[in-house]
């Protein structure tokens, strides 16, 4: 379906597009971001600096980006999907080259006003390119091995680069996010079954390779897995993150200790309390009620996206929306599993809440795409 096939005359034009935005989704996003501001204010000890204020500015910029992306017709985004993917890939390579002189795990390009993490951008552009690919591909070819191999390569290539950085969290997100789009596009069950069994094999290999010359992960990643499996083995060393995080969560109880009363975060027992572990502060200060509320907000965002995708007759739009929703889901699901001790500490931030520029802007751009697809849906 080229853009000419869209039923253009029913698509709103000009500023009237604003009225057709998915306002409920924007409201939910703002609510989640608001929770983020509150928590950043709290972990700074009741101060807007150093985290809450810049985060609010970034959110404002993010909303602007979202609007901008939403106003541009979805068929434009579809047409540049492949190009966007290539550009991001080049940026990833650039980071690899420049980063080798940086501090071990440099993941960004300094743009002057902000630091851009190409791996963050890749989460969106990968979904875009896969959606465009399956939009272009005749459906009967979807499950043919050769046509399955191409999207697999699209996923694997950036993934290798991300793994080299090394960024296990993003790598997992890219793999799973890509797989979700392929699954939605209708690739045969058998492939997924095969991949899952391969992953199991790989996990075994990862553990078997430990200590040998060809070990697949860095030592710190092994240690994180060890402590995930048994956090009590080293409560002051590597298991510290998980132990302290669980203590903070658990001590919240029903309604929590009250805003800015969380001792775990206020006394610095929590590591990275403003980024990856911000959920624990929320759970400590607002308890089970607060934590479930945030979880519900996230669930609603995902549900609104799915609803929007199903009601959208355009295949590219549906795939894109679902892919972004899937990536979003993976973000918070991995982060929450991590702080609750269900997954190893892999360094995935809580979307829209954790302090961080790249992730926020990229997510908002992603939701811009969702909005664009929503506004320009065929009617």
């Amino acid at each position: 379906m080229s853009y000419l096939e869209y039923n253009v005359k029913h698509v709103p034009t000009g500023l009237r597009k604003v009225l057709h935005l998915n306002w409920a989704l924007l409201l939910l996003i703002t609510a989640v971001a608001g929770v983020g501001f509150l928590m950043l204010y709290s972990v700074a000890g009741g101060s807007f600096s150093p985290w809450a204020e810049p985060q609010m500015k970034r959110y404002a910029l993010g909303v602007f980006v979202m609007f901008f992306v939403a106003m541009v017709p979805i068929w434009f985004w579809r047409s540049i999907s492949g190009f966007a993917y290539l550009v991001t890939l080049v940026l990833l390579v650039l980071v690899e080259v420049m980063g080798s002189v940086g501090m071990g795990a440099q993941r960004w390009i300094d743009l002057g006003f902000m630091r851009l993490q190409p791996s963050e951008l890749m989460k969106i552009t990968l979904v875009m390119s896969l959606a465009a690919y399956y939009d272009w591909l005749p459906t009967e070819k979807t499950s043919k091995p050769i046509w399955v191999l191409i999207p697999v390569l699209l996923i694997i290539i950036p993934n290798m680069l991300v793994l080299r950085q090394p960024d296990l969290g993003t790598s997992i997100l890219l793999l799973t996010g890509g797989a979700i789009v392929m699954f939605l596009a209708g690739v045969h069950w058998g492939y997924f079954a095969a991949v899952i069994s391969m992953v199991v094999g790989l996990v075994v290999a990862v553990f078997r390779s430990r200590g040998t010359d060809w070990q697949l992960l860095k030592n710190y990643q092994y240690r994180r897995i060890d402590t995930f499996l048994d956090p009590s083995s080293d409560p002051l060393g590597a298991g510290y993150h998980i132990t302290q995080s669980k203590i903070a969560l658990g001590s919240g109880g029903w309604t929590g200790r009250g805003f800015m009363q969380g001792t775990q975060s206020r006394l610095n027992f929590l590591p990275e309390k403003h980024t990856d572990f911000i959920f624990t502060t929320l759970a400590e200060e607002f308890g089970y009620v607060g934590a479930v509320s945030l979880l519900s907000l996230y669930a609603l965002i995902v549900l609104f996206c799915i609803a929007s995708a199903i009601s959208n007759k355009d295949r590219y739009s549906s795939l894109l929306i679902l892919g972004i929703a899937g990536a979003f889901f993976l973000f918070f699901a991995v982060n929450m599993s991590m702080v609750m001790g269900l997954a190893p500490v892999v360094g995935v931030p809580l979307p829209l809440v954790s302090y961080g520029g790249s992730a926020m802007l990229v997510l908002m751009a992603g939701f811009g795409l969702v909005q664009s697809a929503h506004v320009h849906r065929p009617r």
Binding site: I180, I247, L249, G250, Q264, A333
Partner: protein, 647 residues
């Protein structure tokens, strides 16, 4: 997708929708799982985690109590606590430890040996524990460090309390000393007080400090503090004050103690002064002495080596730990045993030809030429050995031993001091059970003049003398009051001895010091009010061998120091109304003449409550005594200005 019919399109979209719904469903299921996990952590295990959070946040710190202070009977400070400034370093916070120490060295004078010790300690202990880098720094140095702390990561200036003994050596053998708690100390205690886990916490090691540790230490207070993740204290939540250690007042008279210590000087000697009525120990001196302050922060190997290699044994508290054959000072016991058994009358005489044959062995009198006819008073006065051999052979060791026991010989007095000696009051049973030999009559003869097996400490000799003076079984007492609560004076029962027999022995002792032929006559007191009764003693360390005699060694002074006889003198005064009993032992003093003047001088000092007038001394001694008094006044240290009478 191009060229597809609308139905085909709908079918393709339908599959997408189905899979989308399936995906959404699994996502919801996963999120529900997260919700349940959260419920488990936050609700089911909330109490447990909240407790852990509190444990994280709240740290209980001990507040070390101030150790009880020790005063003399007049409230003069003998041991107190003074602020001690030190600089500690936490290796973890310091980062580059060497660089920090170099920087610190520009501000504080660092002792290289202490620095070595600190570095060793750092290697052994975890990096977050503070290690003392400089101890006993001055206030100026501490301020300099405090001002520069921003440039000295990991360095903390600290103020603590440290023990200080203002009289230095004068009280060393009574008080003992405190020192940093050691692993060895901890291993001896079953359930050690948490306080002892504080690094370098000072506990009593020996002497009164050691024996009365429980009273002196006090009870630790606690404060609950909120700490952050790196252990820095954010605020104090609450505080429970501990209890300060109990102050102890001794029966010791510091002025007399210091005088006695100075009078003994560098001799290897001991002197004990006791109140005859109450048993209060007024002075318990042992020489040479040492500075207990050296031990407080841990003594250096060199200093300790000096103390242990000295053949005069400065670390030994000879006054209570040392035991010596009492020599002729034991003769009162033999005399009383014989009197009580009715073996001898006051005027019965024994002829002394200078020796006596007992079971084919010749026992000599100290006077080779013999004393001639001696009665009891004369025999005590001139210390005739043969007279007492004769008495002893008639009365037997059993009665002598019973008598000695009444006077405290062989009894371990319950005093809060280290290693209080039992001495030895020999008997038939003792010899057969310990040495596996039968008691022979020669042993009795030896015991009668305080030689052979008999052993007594200077403390026991003082107690014996006090009992001779009062006829009461006075026990010694060292602690006058604890925390202002006066300790009861134990009541002293009358001895089971006829007062007239005792009076006769006392007359003999009076003659020792006041009769022209008395063995202590030349070192008498001529002030009538303070006349003393005493007894001299010489205890042989070993006989002069025939080989030595052949080389011309006839006098004791010709022997090497450690083989010379011990000199002893016991006395009480005033004779009419006994107040104090004194015992002096001078190790290897070549006979009683070394001990007698010391006993006399200490007695006068005690009776006058300070330097006595020269008129108390015999005329021919006055010049030398005047010189001696001047010398000693220089030695007696200035007292603590703060007089705090807690009694």
């Amino acid at each position: 997708m191009r060229g597809k019919t609308p139905t085909e399109l709908t079918e393709v979209h339908g599959r997408l929708s189905r899979r989308a719904l399936l995906l959404g469903g699994s996502m919801l299921a996963f999120m529900t799982g997260l919700g349940f996990r959260m419920r488990h952590l936050q609700l089911d295990q909330a109490d447990q985690y909240r407790l852990l959070a509190e444990e994280n946040r709240i740290n209980i710190r001990l507040i070390p109590p101030a150790r009880g202070e020790i005063f003399d009977r007049n409230g003069i400070v003998l041991a107190r606590n003074e602020p001690s400034y030190r600089v500690t370093l936490v290796p973890e916070d310091a980062g580059n430890v060497d660089a920090v120490i170099d920087k610190l060295a520009t501000l504080v004078e660092l002792d290289p040996s202490e620095l070595d010790r600190a570095v060793t300690e750092m290697r052994r202990s975890p990096p977050f524990l503070p290690v003392t880098i400089a101890d006993r720094v001055s206030w100026d140095e501490l301020s300099r460090v405090a001002v520069n702390t921003p440039a000295l990561p990991g360095i903390t200036p600290e103020v603590g309390l440290s023990r200080y003994y203002p009289l230095r050596g004068d009280m060393a053998h009574v008080l003992g000393y405190v020192g940093p708690v050691s692993d060895y100390d901890l291993s001896k205690i079953d359930n050690p007080d948490q306080l002892l886990r504080i690094p370098r916490f000072q506990i009593g090691k020996v002497g009164l400090e050691g024996r009365m540790e429980d009273d002196l230490r006090g009870v630790a207070g606690t404060k609950r503090v909120e700490v952050n993740a790196v252990g820095r204290i954010m605020r104090e939540l609450d505080r429970r004050e501990g209890e300060q250690g109990e102050d102890i007042q001794l029966t010791i008279d510091q002025q007399l103690q210091s005088y006695a210590q100075a009078r003994l000087g560098d001799e290897s000697a001991a002197a004990v002064v006791m109140d005859c009525e109450t048993g209060d120990l007024l002075a318990v001196a042992s020489a040479p002495t040492f500075d207990p302050n050296l031990f407080v922060e841990g003594i250096s190997v060199a200093d300790y080596g000096d103390l242990t290699s000295n053949d005069h044994r400065p670390l030994a508290a000879k006054s209570v730990q040392g035991t010596y054959p009492p020599g002729s000072t034991f003769k009162m016991i033999t005399a009383l045993a014989a009197l009580e058994e009715g073996i001898v009358g006051y005027d019965d005489t024994v002829y002394c030809p200078g020796h006596m044959e007992i079971s084919n062995r010749r026992f000599h009198c100290w006077k080779r030429g013999g004393h001639g006819h001696m009665n009891l008073v004369q025999a005590l006065r001139e210390s005739c050995d043969v007279y007492f051999y004769d008495l002893a052979l008639q009365v037997g060791i059993d009665k002598m031993s019973e008598m000695a026991a009444q006077f405290g010989i062989g009894q371990k007095f319950d005093l809060p001091l280290s290693g209080v000696a039992r001495g030895l009051n020999p008997s038939r049973d003792w010899k057969s059970s310990v040495r596996g030999e039968d008691w022979v009559v020669g042993d009795t003869a030896n015991a009668s003049i305080g030689q052979g097996f008999v052993l007594a400490s200077p403390l026991q000799l003082a107690v014996m003398t006090a009992r001779l003076a009062t006829g009461k079984a006075v026990p010694p007492r060292l602690v006058k009051s604890i925390n202002g609560v006066e300790q009861s004076v134990p009541n002293a029962p009358r001895l089971d001895i006829s007062p007239t027999h005792l009076a006769e022995v006392q007359r003999g002792m009076y003659a020792v010091s006041n009769h022209r032929r008395g063995t202590a006559y030349s070192k008498r007191i001529i002030e009538d009010e303070f006349r003393m009764a005493g007894k001299t003693g010489t205890s042989q360390v070993r006989n002069i061998t025939a080989a030595e005699r052949a080389r011309g060694v006839t006098r004791n002074e010709d022997l090497p120091w450690n083989r010379r006889d011990h000199g002893l003198f016991v006395n009480y005064a005033p004779f009419e109304n006994p107040k104090i009993a004194v015992a002096v032992v001078v190790e290897h003093g070549s006979g009683s003449k070394a001990a007698t003047p010391i006993g006399r001088d200490i007695t006068l000092q005690a009776l006058y409550g300070g330097t006595p007038p020269l008129s108390a001394y015999p005329t021919k001694d006055r010049n030398s005594i005047e010189k001696q008094q001047e010398e000693l006044e220089k030695l007696v240290p200035g007292r603590e200005i703060t007089r705090r009478n807690r009694a």
